[in-house]
Protein backbone atom coordinates (compact mmCIF):
# COMPACT_ATOMS: atom_id res chain seq x y z
CA UNK A 1 0.00 0.00 0.00
CA UNK A 2 1.52 3.36 -0.92
CA UNK A 3 1.72 6.29 1.44
CA UNK A 4 -1.27 8.21 0.07
CA UNK A 5 -3.58 5.21 0.26
CA UNK A 6 -2.32 4.54 3.77
CA UNK A 7 -3.12 8.10 4.79
CA UNK A 8 -6.59 7.77 3.27
CA UNK A 9 -7.16 4.58 5.22
CA UNK A 10 -6.04 6.26 8.40
CA UNK A 11 -8.28 9.25 7.75
CA UNK A 12 -11.20 6.91 7.28
CA UNK A 13 -10.35 5.05 10.48
CA UNK A 14 -10.20 8.30 12.41
CA UNK A 15 -13.54 9.34 10.94
CA UNK A 16 -15.18 6.07 11.96
CA UNK A 17 -13.58 6.20 15.40
CA UNK A 18 -14.71 9.77 15.99
CA UNK A 19 -18.29 9.19 14.94
CA UNK A 20 -18.46 5.85 16.76
CA UNK A 21 -17.23 7.51 19.96
CA UNK A 22 -19.96 10.11 19.61
CA UNK A 23 -22.61 7.44 18.99
CA UNK A 24 -21.39 5.39 21.96
CA UNK A 25 -21.56 8.42 24.25
CA UNK A 26 -25.15 9.09 23.17
CA UNK A 27 -25.98 5.39 23.49
CA UNK A 28 -24.76 5.30 27.10
CA UNK A 29 -26.41 8.59 28.04
CA UNK A 30 -29.69 7.18 26.78
CA UNK A 31 -29.18 3.94 28.68
CA UNK A 32 -28.84 6.01 31.85
CA UNK A 33 -32.18 7.75 31.38
CA UNK A 34 -35.26 6.01 32.76
CA UNK A 35 -37.57 4.82 30.00
CA UNK A 36 -41.31 5.53 30.14
CA UNK A 37 -42.02 2.05 28.78
CA UNK A 38 -39.78 -0.96 28.36
CA UNK A 39 -38.39 -1.07 24.86
CA UNK A 40 -38.92 2.60 24.16
CA UNK A 41 -36.04 5.00 23.95
CA UNK A 42 -35.39 7.90 21.64
CA UNK A 43 -32.59 6.19 19.72
CA UNK A 44 -30.66 9.40 19.22
CA UNK A 45 -27.49 7.40 18.55
CA UNK A 46 -29.08 6.60 15.20
CA UNK A 47 -28.73 10.27 14.30
CA UNK A 48 -24.98 9.64 14.12
CA UNK A 49 -25.43 6.56 11.91
CA UNK A 50 -27.72 8.53 9.62
CA UNK A 51 -25.36 11.50 9.35
CA UNK A 52 -22.44 9.19 8.55
CA UNK A 53 -24.53 7.33 5.99
CA UNK A 54 -25.57 10.51 4.17
CA UNK A 55 -22.09 12.02 4.23
CA UNK A 56 -19.85 8.98 3.82
CA UNK A 57 -21.96 6.04 2.63
CA UNK A 58 -23.31 2.79 3.94
CA UNK A 59 -19.98 1.07 4.60
CA UNK A 60 -18.77 3.63 7.13
CA UNK A 61 -22.26 3.90 8.63
CA UNK A 62 -22.21 0.13 9.20
CA UNK A 63 -18.83 0.44 10.94
CA UNK A 64 -20.09 3.21 13.19
CA UNK A 65 -23.32 1.37 14.06
CA UNK A 66 -21.50 -1.92 14.63
CA UNK A 67 -18.91 -0.36 16.91
CA UNK A 68 -21.62 1.49 18.78
CA UNK A 69 -23.60 -1.70 19.46
CA UNK A 70 -20.49 -3.66 20.44
CA UNK A 71 -18.71 -1.10 22.59
CA UNK A 72 -21.96 0.33 23.96
CA UNK A 73 -22.99 -3.10 25.22
CA UNK A 74 -19.56 -3.74 26.73
CA UNK A 75 -19.70 -0.45 28.62
CA UNK A 76 -23.32 -0.74 29.75
CA UNK A 77 -22.76 -4.41 30.65
CA UNK A 78 -25.25 -6.08 28.33
CA UNK A 79 -22.76 -7.79 25.98
CA UNK A 80 -24.19 -11.08 24.62
CA UNK A 81 -27.35 -10.63 26.70
CA UNK A 82 -30.83 -10.51 25.17
CA UNK A 83 -30.56 -6.71 25.17
CA UNK A 84 -27.42 -6.99 23.06
CA UNK A 85 -29.11 -9.37 20.61
CA UNK A 86 -32.04 -6.97 20.28
CA UNK A 87 -29.74 -3.98 19.91
CA UNK A 88 -27.73 -5.73 17.19
CA UNK A 89 -30.85 -6.88 15.35
CA UNK A 90 -32.34 -3.42 15.47
CA UNK A 91 -29.15 -1.77 14.24
CA UNK A 92 -28.81 -4.29 11.40
CA UNK A 93 -32.43 -3.92 10.31
CA UNK A 94 -32.14 -0.13 10.45
CA UNK A 95 -28.90 -0.11 8.42
CA UNK A 96 -30.23 -2.43 5.72
CA UNK A 97 -33.47 -0.46 5.39
CA UNK A 98 -31.60 2.82 5.30
CA UNK A 99 -29.24 1.55 2.62
CA UNK A 100 -32.09 0.13 0.56
CA UNK A 101 -34.23 3.26 0.86
CA UNK A 102 -31.26 5.48 0.07
CA UNK A 103 -30.46 3.41 -3.00
CA UNK A 104 -34.06 3.47 -4.26
CA UNK A 105 -35.06 6.97 -3.17
CA UNK A 106 -31.82 8.74 -4.09
CA UNK A 107 -32.20 12.50 -4.00
CA UNK A 108 -35.92 12.27 -3.38
CA UNK A 109 -35.57 10.97 0.12
CA UNK A 110 -33.93 13.00 2.87
CA UNK A 111 -32.83 12.49 6.47
CA UNK A 112 -36.36 12.54 7.89
CA UNK A 113 -37.68 9.81 5.60
CA UNK A 114 -34.57 7.66 6.08
CA UNK A 115 -34.72 8.14 9.83
CA UNK A 116 -38.40 7.16 10.05
CA UNK A 117 -37.77 4.07 7.91
CA UNK A 118 -34.73 3.14 9.98
CA UNK A 119 -36.63 3.58 13.24
CA UNK A 120 -39.58 1.50 12.06
CA UNK A 121 -37.24 -1.22 10.76
CA UNK A 122 -35.26 -1.11 14.00
CA UNK A 123 -38.41 -1.60 16.07
CA UNK A 124 -39.91 -4.23 13.78
CA UNK A 125 -36.68 -6.22 13.76
CA UNK A 126 -36.41 -6.07 17.54
CA UNK A 127 -40.02 -7.03 18.16
CA UNK A 128 -39.76 -9.94 15.72
CA UNK A 129 -36.66 -11.32 17.41
CA UNK A 130 -38.07 -10.65 20.88
CA UNK A 131 -41.25 -12.49 19.98
CA UNK A 132 -39.63 -15.42 18.16
CA UNK A 133 -36.68 -15.94 20.48
CA UNK A 134 -37.33 -14.51 23.92
CA UNK A 135 -41.02 -13.97 24.69
CA UNK A 136 -43.31 -15.89 22.32
CA UNK A 137 -46.44 -14.56 23.99
CA UNK A 138 -49.41 -12.70 22.56
CA UNK A 139 -49.04 -9.97 25.19
CA UNK A 140 -45.91 -8.75 23.42
CA UNK A 141 -47.88 -8.26 20.23
CA UNK A 142 -50.28 -6.01 22.13
CA UNK A 143 -47.33 -3.67 22.60
CA UNK A 144 -46.55 -3.52 18.89
CA UNK A 145 -48.83 -0.55 18.05
CA UNK A 146 -47.41 1.49 20.94
CA UNK A 147 -43.84 0.60 20.01
CA UNK A 148 -44.40 1.49 16.35
CA UNK A 149 -46.01 4.80 17.33
CA UNK A 150 -42.93 5.58 19.40
CA UNK A 151 -40.69 4.57 16.50
CA UNK A 152 -42.57 6.90 14.16
CA UNK A 153 -42.35 9.85 16.56
CA UNK A 154 -38.73 9.35 17.60
CA UNK A 155 -37.74 8.53 14.03
CA UNK A 156 -39.17 11.85 12.88
CA UNK A 157 -37.44 13.75 15.69
CA UNK A 158 -34.10 12.01 15.01
CA UNK A 159 -34.49 12.78 11.32
CA UNK A 160 -35.04 16.47 11.96
CA UNK A 161 -32.02 16.55 14.27
CA UNK A 162 -29.95 14.78 11.61
CA UNK A 163 -31.11 17.28 8.98
CA UNK A 164 -30.02 20.16 11.21
CA UNK A 165 -26.65 18.51 11.93
CA UNK A 166 -26.11 17.88 8.22
CA UNK A 167 -26.94 21.49 7.41
CA UNK A 168 -24.36 22.68 9.95
CA UNK A 169 -21.74 20.21 8.70
CA UNK A 170 -22.36 21.28 5.11
CA UNK A 171 -21.50 24.90 5.84
CA UNK A 172 -18.34 25.74 3.93
CA UNK A 173 -16.23 26.77 6.93
CA UNK A 174 -17.34 24.02 9.27
CA UNK A 175 -14.44 22.19 10.84
CA UNK A 176 -16.12 18.82 10.70
CA UNK A 177 -14.59 15.40 10.55
Amino acid sequence: MNQAALNDAHAEDRLVAGFAALAIAIHILEAAFPSPLPGIKPGLANVVTLVVYLRHGLRLAAWVAGLRVLVGSLLVGTFLSPTFALSATGALAALLTMGLAGAIGGRHIGPVGLSVLAAMAHMSGQVTVAYLVFIPHAALLKLVPVLLTAALLFGTVSGIIAAIVLRILDRPRATAP
Binding site: V112, G113, V116, L117, V144, P145, G155, T156
Partner: protein, 122 residues
Protein backbone atom coordinates in the same frame (compact mmCIF):
# COMPACT_ATOMS: atom_id res chain seq x y z
CA UNK B 1 -31.68 21.55 1.20
CA UNK B 2 -35.32 21.41 2.12
CA UNK B 3 -36.22 19.65 5.34
CA UNK B 4 -38.88 17.43 3.80
CA UNK B 5 -38.52 15.97 0.31
CA UNK B 6 -41.28 14.15 -1.57
CA UNK B 7 -39.87 10.77 -0.54
CA UNK B 8 -39.93 11.81 3.10
CA UNK B 9 -43.60 12.71 2.93
CA UNK B 10 -44.34 9.39 1.23
CA UNK B 11 -42.42 7.55 3.94
CA UNK B 12 -44.23 9.44 6.71
CA UNK B 13 -47.62 8.63 5.17
CA UNK B 14 -46.74 4.95 4.75
CA UNK B 15 -45.35 4.75 8.28
CA UNK B 16 -48.51 6.32 9.68
CA UNK B 17 -50.58 3.79 7.73
CA UNK B 18 -48.49 0.93 9.13
CA UNK B 19 -48.92 2.25 12.68
CA UNK B 20 -52.68 2.55 12.12
CA UNK B 21 -52.82 -0.98 10.72
CA UNK B 22 -50.88 -2.22 13.75
CA UNK B 23 -53.53 -0.79 16.09
CA UNK B 24 -56.24 -2.42 13.98
CA UNK B 25 -54.46 -5.77 13.91
CA UNK B 26 -53.22 -6.13 17.45
CA UNK B 27 -55.83 -4.27 19.46
CA UNK B 28 -58.93 -6.02 18.20
CA UNK B 29 -60.83 -7.75 20.97
CA UNK B 30 -61.38 -11.42 20.41
CA UNK B 31 -64.45 -13.25 21.69
CA UNK B 32 -64.44 -16.77 23.11
CA UNK B 33 -65.19 -19.47 20.57
CA UNK B 34 -67.67 -22.30 21.02
CA UNK B 35 -66.58 -25.09 18.74
CA UNK B 36 -63.64 -26.23 16.72
CA UNK B 37 -63.56 -27.41 13.12
CA UNK B 38 -60.86 -29.84 12.04
CA UNK B 39 -59.91 -29.80 8.38
CA UNK B 40 -57.69 -32.31 6.62
CA UNK B 41 -56.30 -31.38 3.21
CA UNK B 42 -59.00 -28.78 2.71
CA UNK B 43 -62.03 -30.87 3.64
CA UNK B 44 -63.70 -30.47 7.05
CA UNK B 45 -63.66 -33.88 8.74
CA UNK B 46 -64.83 -33.15 12.25
CA UNK B 47 -66.42 -30.56 14.51
CA UNK B 48 -66.21 -30.59 18.28
CA UNK B 49 -67.70 -28.49 21.01
CA UNK B 50 -65.07 -26.70 23.09
CA UNK B 51 -67.11 -27.26 26.26
CA UNK B 52 -66.51 -31.03 26.36
CA UNK B 53 -62.98 -32.20 27.13
CA UNK B 54 -61.68 -34.64 24.56
CA UNK B 55 -58.55 -35.99 22.95
CA UNK B 56 -58.77 -36.47 19.23
CA UNK B 57 -56.55 -38.31 16.78
CA UNK B 58 -56.67 -37.02 13.21
CA UNK B 59 -55.24 -38.95 10.27
CA UNK B 60 -53.39 -36.56 8.01
CA UNK B 61 -51.21 -36.78 4.94
CA UNK B 62 -48.07 -38.03 6.72
CA UNK B 63 -49.39 -39.49 9.96
CA UNK B 64 -51.56 -38.88 12.98
CA UNK B 65 -52.02 -35.48 14.61
CA UNK B 66 -53.22 -35.43 18.19
CA UNK B 67 -55.49 -32.72 19.54
CA UNK B 68 -56.69 -31.98 23.03
CA UNK B 69 -59.79 -30.04 24.05
CA UNK B 70 -60.10 -28.79 27.62
CA UNK B 71 -61.58 -25.81 29.45
CA UNK B 72 -63.00 -24.29 26.30
CA UNK B 73 -59.67 -24.45 24.49
CA UNK B 74 -58.03 -26.65 21.91
CA UNK B 75 -54.42 -27.41 21.06
CA UNK B 76 -52.19 -29.73 19.11
CA UNK B 77 -50.44 -32.10 21.50
CA UNK B 78 -48.44 -33.87 18.81
CA UNK B 79 -48.05 -34.03 15.07
CA UNK B 80 -45.70 -35.90 12.75
CA UNK B 81 -44.03 -32.77 11.40
CA UNK B 82 -40.66 -31.06 11.72
CA UNK B 83 -40.55 -28.15 14.13
CA UNK B 84 -43.99 -28.83 15.62
CA UNK B 85 -45.14 -25.30 14.83
CA UNK B 86 -48.74 -26.45 15.35
CA UNK B 87 -47.90 -27.66 18.86
CA UNK B 88 -46.05 -24.44 19.61
CA UNK B 89 -49.14 -22.48 18.57
CA UNK B 90 -50.43 -23.50 22.01
CA UNK B 91 -53.99 -23.25 23.20
CA UNK B 92 -56.65 -21.68 20.99
CA UNK B 93 -59.81 -20.40 22.58
CA UNK B 94 -60.91 -17.30 20.69
CA UNK B 95 -63.16 -17.27 17.68
CA UNK B 96 -61.21 -17.12 14.44
CA UNK B 97 -57.97 -18.49 15.87
CA UNK B 98 -56.29 -21.07 13.70
CA UNK B 99 -53.51 -23.59 14.20
CA UNK B 100 -52.22 -25.68 11.36
CA UNK B 101 -49.87 -28.57 10.75
CA UNK B 102 -49.18 -27.85 7.13
CA UNK B 103 -47.02 -30.93 6.37
CA UNK B 104 -49.81 -33.13 7.65
CA UNK B 105 -52.54 -31.00 6.07
CA UNK B 106 -54.40 -30.66 9.37
CA UNK B 107 -55.96 -27.28 10.19
CA UNK B 108 -57.85 -26.47 13.36
CA UNK B 109 -60.10 -23.42 13.52
CA UNK B 110 -62.14 -22.11 16.42
CA UNK B 111 -65.68 -21.06 15.54
CA UNK B 112 -68.62 -19.52 17.31
CA UNK B 113 -69.25 -16.34 19.25
CA UNK B 114 -68.74 -13.30 17.13
CA UNK B 115 -66.85 -14.30 14.04
CA UNK B 116 -63.86 -12.14 13.40
CA UNK B 117 -62.22 -11.33 10.15
CA UNK B 118 -58.65 -12.24 9.54
CA UNK B 119 -58.50 -9.75 6.69
CA UNK B 120 -60.66 -7.08 5.14
CA UNK B 121 -60.16 -5.79 1.64
CA UNK B 122 -61.94 -2.72 0.38
Amino acid sequence: MRLLRPGDILVLALAAAVVGAAYGTFWTERTPGQSVVITVSGTPVDEHSLSEPATIAVEGAIGTSHLEIAEGRVRFTDSPCNGRYCVHSGWLSKSGQVAACLPNGVVVEVLGGEREYDAISL
